[in-house]
């Protein structure tokens, strides 16, 4: 039994990896595939660590659903190494310490072989020591502030150089409106503060003066934006073309955009470039006054490729809701999951150390028509898209990077980390290698 099944599934994966993405997806849907033998034996457990209650439930529930879809699909294709995949779902309830507890439970009690989870940086920071101590594998699907590189984490979302920097480049360009003044507006926590530090240094290197950069932080869940929007208006009225870079997170976005509309700030006057507003968030808004506002992501639901169409179709069938939107972190889970499947297949085992080493260099077609590759610093190569909000709640792509961009774990725009790189391949095998002194800082900086 174990003789035949691995061969079968290996062939299926060989096709997936080698053939073009369209052919691969076509193969998965060939009637012949229905004959793939049902997986048997000890199940391989996959942990899902997403908040299903509390403030983050609004974003993370979707990611739990997409993981269930991917696992079900993989089982239909014959499982992994001939064994079925079994999801283990826990609910850390948007409570950061609980994230660490649930991670420990997944790794030591349930003995899962990979965990897909977390959204906020604080939840990732709280589970990181657990994953390092118990040598687990975590796939983290959300764009984040960078400045971290752990051997046990695969960062499938965007690093700042894969979202924030290209977005600002677009705003500076003629096509993006040649902005000369920037209001960096964000929620008061680690992601906006680090991103804004990187952006401020980057903007200064592009000749933007200190007085042309305004930084403003608000508490989580801010709902009264009157003063801040009027400050932005005043800042923008000084005769130079102004743009807002928004790292406002979660619920606070809706009243922010509502107030912009109220005070008559349109995208043609002062465009807002958002880093955390996706299709999901727009689903709850009247988007008519927001037409033309911008967002930077590595994926948009509206991108017209056969892979994406198929993914959206499957998603609608799986959720039985033809209106459920897809978004960037969902694509990140899709890429991460398929990479892990490839790595386990290639290593022929779920042994964590072997899988971690095999992961580097794995390539997986993404949903927007390119190929994502796992880099030695556990980040991906990703394309960057700038989308404008349309009145139907979708984004239309107005700009994209000419090729994919390699994710940087450490930002060159922060003086302390200028010389650091992450490289988990031999011989460096270090998350924070200083290229100037040629030494590994070790645990201290991670």
């Amino acid at each position: 039994m174990s003789d035949i099944l691995p061969k079968l599934s290996r062939r299926a994966f060989g096709r997936l990896a080698l053939a073009s993405s369209v052919a691969a997806i076509g193969a998965a849907y060939r009637p012949g595939q229905a004959l793939a033998a049902a997986p048997t034996g000890q199940p391989i457990k996959v942990g899902i660590l997403h908040s299903l209650s509390g403030t983050m439930a609004i974003s993370e529930t979707t990611l739990k659903d997409v993981m269930l879809m991917l696992i079900a699909e993989q089982n239909r294709k014959g499982g992994l190494l001939g064994r079925p995949l079994e999801p283990v779902i826990v609910d850390p309830a948007s409570n950061w310490p609980l994230f660490a507890e649930k991670a420990r439970q997944l790794l030591s009690v349930d003995k899962v072989d990979a965990v897909f989870g977390c959204w906020t940086s604080v939840s990732r920071k709280s589970v990181l020591p657990v994953f390092e101590e118990l040598n687990g594998i975590l796939f983290y699907p959300v764009q984040y502030e960078g400045q971290e590189c752990s051997r046990n984490i695969f960062y499938t979302g965007a690093a700042p150089n894969q979202q924030a920097i290209p977005a600002v480049d677009y705003l500076l360009s003629e096509e993006g409106g040649s902005a000369k003044r920037f209001a960096l507006v964000g929620t008061d926590y680690v992601y906006p503060r680090t991103t804004n530090q990187i952006l401020a240094n980057y903007l200064k290197s592009k000749g933007i003066k200190d007085e042309d950069i305004m930084v403003n932080y608000t508490p989580f869940g801010q709902s009264d934006w009157q003063t801040i929007v009027s400050q932005i208006k005043a800042f923008g009225a000084a005769g130079k073309k102004t743009a807002v870079v928004s790292t406002i997170n979660g619920d606070a976005n809706v009243p922010f955009y509502k107030e912009l509309g109220n005070q008559g700030v349109s995208a043609t006057d002062i465009p807002v470039m958002a880093f955390s507003v996706g299709e999901e968030e727009l689903a709850g808004m009247d988007t008519a006054p927001l037409v033309g506002q911008l967002a930077a992501w590595n994926y948009f639901e509206s991108i017209d490729t056969p892979e994406n169409k198929l993914f959206i179709k499957e998603w609608h069938e799986f959720t039985k809701n033809p209106k459920r939107t897809t978004n960037d972190p969902m694509e990140a889970h899709y890429i991460g999951f398929n990479m892990w499947v490839q790595a386990v297949t290639k290593a022929g085992t779920t042994d964590h150390d072997k899988v971690i080493d095999t992961m580097i260099g794995i390539r997986q077609p993404n949903l927007t028509g390119g190929v994502a590759q796992m880099l030695p610093n556990h980040h991906l190569t990703k394309p960057v898209y700038i989308g404008e909000i349309q009145d139907d709640g979708q984004f239309s792509v107005v700009w994209k990077t000419p090729s994919t961009i390699a994710g940087q774990a450490w930002s060159p725009w922060v003086p302390e980390t200028k010389n650091l790189i992450g490289d988990w391949s031999k011989p460096i095998s270090c998350g924070n290698y200083n290229t100037a002194t040629k030494t590994c800082i070790g645990k201290k900086h991670v």
Binding site: E175, D224, A237, Q263, M285, G292
Partner: protein, 534 residues
């Protein structure tokens, strides 16, 4: 009329083309629209307007409405209904190519389009449209527009539009670099901009005041005007902040009035108050959806319909909660707190299960969107409406408490429950109705909040702490205290926010309230009298 003549024109052009046996031109002023490049499209739009082509108006109009399509093989088409018109000729097209794509738009194109539109609108017969166009020209001060503005200025009769056009022309003059010999015109421009006295004018003038290329006299005039504008702006900004404070305060007031009844008057710590607000907001959404699906003409006033509906839904739910849960816990405040907290979690999850975890979109009707300028104070209409609504609700509540028998009985039960019962008041009934009233008020707050905040299962959590703070700070059991506290906290927050930032403002307000409560545990307006237990 106008469009008809355009058709005639286009027909004539077409006939001419047909006679001369020419095919559609290879590269004309329209072909840029087919390029798919934003810069080219934008340049094409400006060139079209400048060319005076008879089709320019129709093309710009269609592009703005997203009715303009192109075929990669060539050809630009305007969609009208289900048919297409060739944009070049204005003639109906029988067989449109199958691969039509909308002409691409981004902010840059939109911006060029807006100024192109403004240029056409400058000659509109309506005063309001011309004023809007002039205001837009003024804000953009694009030198290309100067001839159009001067042309319009020569024709303009309306004094307000004239003034705006003069300011627009002045802004353009000053935004261009100084040339020798135009000192007088620049001085006049500085003066004209001084009459505008807004932030746009300040931006242009401060650039002039700091420029090295201007003469000393112009620089000084500009600097003087800047400082006088600054003074005016500072005065206006006091009023502006006062408006922000009042509107923020009225949101707090709405959220807290219901709690002032349940907590203040009845002594019930209702942690589910925020969730009742949330249900009010979801009711608003359901009313909107219901009206949209059935009686369309009611749509603009669906919000007004939602007000009584939300009050009733939440009020009934409140009575249900009181009868089913709270009445067993009177006299045990800690148990009430825990029970209602549990209830709030249940309600949240119920809404999440029924409506999903994502936000839902409650539409703001057109008559509540936008703002209204009072001098330099920007009064946003939905905030103004909430302000008025909050005071109407408070007034109605005070009337109920003072003038109705329910109010009298409620006050009697609050002051001395046993005596009231002896006098024949059915205290359980009063309790249920009072709690229902408080819940209904939360529903009203939900209707209001749906216009400014996001409607999601988490809505309640963000208001519960503020509401308790207002009620405790104002003095438990006193509606005037609730009003005073809401306005104080609202104003305080808005005064602190511009100087120390939103995060520190929030913390400082909390610290100040704690310090105040330390010294005056009964709040700003303590209830006095024999009935009050010490």
């Amino acid at each position: 009329m106008c469009r008809f003549s355009r058709f005639l024109w286009a027909g004539a052009v077409c006939l001419l083309l047909a006679f001369s046996g020419m095919q559609v031109a290879v590269a004309d002023e329209f072909s840029g629209l087919e390029s798919g490049q934003f810069n080219t499209i934008a340049n094409t739009v400006s060139a079209l307007v400048a060319s005076g082509n008879s089709q320019a108006g129709a093309v710009i109009d269609a592009l703005g409405k997203r009715h303009l399509f192109y075929s990669p093989a060539g050809g630009v088409f305007i969609r009208s209904g289900s048919t297409y018109v060739d944009a070049r000729t204005g003639q109906f097209v029988q067989n449109t190519p199958a691969d039509l794509k909308p002409v691409r738009m981004n902010n840059y194109v939109r911006q060029v389009l807006a100024s192109a539109n403004a240029e056409l609108e400058l000659l509109s017969p309506q005063d309001a449209v011309r004023l809007k166009a002039a205001t837009q020209m003024y804000a953009q001060h694009n030198p290309v527009m100067l001839p159009a503005i001067n042309h319009a200025l020569a024709l303009e009769k309306n004094s307000r539009v004239r003034l705006k056009l003069e300011q627009a022309s002045a802004a353009i003059v000053l935004a261009q670099p100084m040339k020798t010999g135009d000192e007088a015109s620049r001085l006049a421009a500085v003066k004209a901009l001084g009459s505008a006295a807004d932030l746009e004018a300040r931006g242009v003038l401060s650039a002039v005041a700091m420029s090295d290329h201007e003469t000393a006299e112009v620089r000084k005039a500009a600097a003087d005007t800047v400082s006088s504008i600054d003074l005016k702006q500072r005065l206006w900004s006091i009023l502006q902040n006062a408006f922000y404070g009042l509107s923020y305060g009225s949101v707090l007031l709405l959220a807290a009035t219901g709690l002032a009844i349940t907590f203040g008057v009845m002594g019930v710590i209702n942690m589910a108050h925020g969730e009742l607000m949330m249900i009010g907001a979801y009711t608003t959404w359901m009313v909107q959806q219901g009206i949209r699906a059935t009686v369309l003409w009611l749509e603009p006033v669906s919000l007004l319909v939602a007000i009584p509906v939300a009050f009733c839904v939440c009020g009934l739910l409140g009575i249900l909660i009181e009868r089913g849960l709270i009445r067993f816990l009177y006299g045990r405040p800690l148990e009430t707190l825990l029970a209602t907290w549990g209830l709030s979690l249940i309600l949240q999850q119920a809404i999440r299960s029924i409506f999903g975890p994502t936000n839902i979109a409650v539409v703001t009707p057109a008559w509540l969107s936008g703002s209204w300028m009072l001098g330099s104070v920007d009064i946003t209409l939905n905030r103004l409406a909430i302000f008025v609504f909050a005071f109407l609700v408070l007034a109605a509540l005070m009337l109920i408490m003072r003038k109705t028998s329910l109010g009298l009985e409620m006050r009697a039960v609050t002051q001395n429950r046993r005596m009231a019962a002896l006098m024949g008041i059915r205290t359980p009934r009063v309790d249920a109705l009072a709690f229902g009233l408080g819940a209904g008020l939360a529903g009203l707050a939900g209707v209001a909040v749906s216009q400014i905040d996001n409607v999601s299962p988490n809505l309640g959590q963000s208001y519960i702490i503020d509401s308790f703070m207002v009620v405790v700070f104002g003095g438990v059991g006193n509606l005037w205290g609730t009003l005073a506290a809401a306005m104080t906290l609202g104003m305080g927050g808005k005064i602190l926010e511009p100087t120390i930032g939103a995060v520190s403002a929030k913390i400082s307000i909390l610290v100040l309230v704690i310090l105040y409560i330390q010294r005056h545990p009964r709040g700003m307006f303590p209830v006095r009298g024999r009935g009050v237990e010490s």
